[in-house]
Amino acid sequence: MDALNELMGGFATALTPTNLFYVLLGVLLGTAIGVLPGIGPAMTVALLLPLTRGLEVETALIMFAGIYYGGMYGGSTTSILLNTPGESASVVTAIEGNKMARSGRAAQALATAAIGSFVAGTIATLLLALVAPTVADLAVEVSPADTFAIMVLAFIAVTSVLGSSRLRGLAALGLGLTIGLIGIDPTSGQQRLTFGIPELADGIDVVVVAVGLFAVGEALWTAAHLRRRPIDVIPVGNPRMSRQDFRRSWKPWLRGTAIGFPFGAVPAGGAEIPTFLSYVSEKRLSKHPEEFGEGAIEGVAGPEATNNASAAGGLVPLLTLGIPVTATAAVMLAAIQSYGIEPGPRLFETEPVLVWGLIASLFIGNTALLVLNLPLAPVWARLLRIPRSYLYAGILFFSSLGAYAANASPFDLLLLLAIGALGFMMRRYGLPILPAIIGVILGPFAEEELRQALQISNGQLSGLVTPLTVIVYVIVALVLLWPLVRRFLPRKAAVPVLADAVHEIEEAHHHHGLTDSVSVERHADDGDRTS
């Protein structure tokens, strides 16, 4: 087993005292920041990105593995204790998790989330270690034309997440792509959209964009609508589970892993669909279906495992193709880039120490999460009570610090505010943030691949057509034209589980008022479904 040998080598990298210290620090910081209300995992990673700037590449990425898992678990804690999902992937956790917490079973909900995340994360990281080198080998054969097509698919997939307006997703994507265009065109040396401002010549730093859209945008938006009354936080003791809880949880953990990993690994979609699928299938398979909606432990165990497994699965396209599918992965990609490393099929050949060290530290981070977070849960719960004025002032403070530290330029701070204002507008009018982030980060790569493909074919557009790209573009067209396509499908064609999942997603969106939109297109949809 070649991959296992490499993985052992990775552990040798990750287990040095320094690296071990940083992965633990990453988990602690990631959880502490991720647990704060209003801060999702992607924002956590973006805010903590500057902290890794002074470190060696390997150490920095290893710390990131810790932050990544810590931030995700922190987000789940918030959903369970406050019924307020930080990002769409933990919407499902909130459904049953918060009910459990309200009926005095917060400790069990947190425990099944933590242990489920651990189980799923471990299995999924193992799968990642086994699958990724093979995918990378295959991906080396992939031509620039193919890569470009897959990137187009990734763009379209993130704009068409279930339960939100496609049109507004495309608008967000366009904004992101535009920001990505700013700066000197690397191929021709021409300045694009810089308007003669020298600070814009190198483009806008991805940290500034990510922190601006996520953190500053969120702080401004929340400040404009701040709830002026105390929030009620459910007190929590040490997480623990009874034998009965274990018996009801272990199958959902494993099923969640099986659902989450493949969904995460496909460059289309993210964690939202698989977590809902997991929820719905647990509801169908449960021996206690009547408890669903009242706080069923399976409804926390399954989706949480799914969420973690799909996060690990998402590293497959990230590391082998350089394509992120979630906001968190997009920020990770930016982090990796900032060290001059280009994720892609050759990464496993050119940077084996780095990649395997990163994968090994995912295991360590995952274990650290379990060891640290079970006993620390009461502390995290107390963090939820931080006064809101300090919380959002702190977010602005650390955003400015991070953006300034990136390039030591006051101009970046003004830019940060401008992008924060853009983030405010997007939240105000229901434009999703994820497509914009993916557009900013992936846009320049897609352009490069396109131009390479056309250079290889000497300008013939036919160079963009290969068997693989045809398949990918057909999928893109189907996704784009789904409302039309669906009319021609027989009514029963949709798998019932999928239909249920769609229904649940829309219910939950409606309930939480997460970014989603009402558009004319959707009115027609609604009519279809209810009839």
Partner: protein, 170 residues
């Protein structure tokens, strides 16, 4: 799912048309700027520096058109909810303005006064804007945060932050 967001039905009105206008204007700007790019002498590749901006600009213009139609026909983007958010009232522009002022003050003062001072102003100002009225406690927290983060970055991480007027003291 078919109703607009709570509290924003009438009030929001057609202000979303402004978003469509913004997207359209941005798209036109991107296209015009791309077409004005001088002929490149270095890269004679089939796709020059202008091709992708033109496509992106066109995407923005087309999306702006569809969005305008959608809004016209009654479609609405739903404002984002959240744990600390109450969507029943209008946006609180006074708070936003004060936050922006604190933010800009930091951007202007960070080099002359240094991060330990400007960061403290940012935190204190933001906390004030957000309704905290414990002036002394806020100031104490602000100073601890800004000085602490300065030491963390400069000594702990080796990233330099401006020290400004406190040179020689810190």
């Amino acid at each position: 799912m078919s109703s607009a967001a709570p509290g924003s039905t009438e009030e929001q009105g057609r202000s979303e048309l402004g978003v469509a206008l913004f997207l359209g204007a941005l798209g036109v700007l991107v296209i015009v700027q791309a077409l004005l790019l001088p002929e490149s002498r270095i890269a004679r590749g089939p796709v020059g520096p202008a091709a992708v901006p033109v496509v992106v600009g066109s995407l923005l213009v087309v999306v702006a058109g569809f969005l305008a139609v959608d809004v016209w026909r009654g479609g609405r983007g739903e404002p984002e909810g959240g744990e600390d958010i109450e969507l029943t009232g209008r946006s609180d522009w006074r708070t936003i303005a004060m936050l922006a002022a604190a933010f800009i003050a930091n951007a202007l003062l960070i080099e002359p006064l240094g991060w330990p001072v400007s960061g403290a102003i940012l935190f204190w100002g933001s906390a004030f804007a957000l309704g905290s009225r414990h002036y002394v406690r806020d100031a104490a927290i602000a100073v601890v945060l800004s000085v602490g983060s300065w030491y963390l970055f400069v000594l702990g991480l080796g990233i330099s932050l401006p020290v400004g007027i406190l040179r020689g003291i810190l």
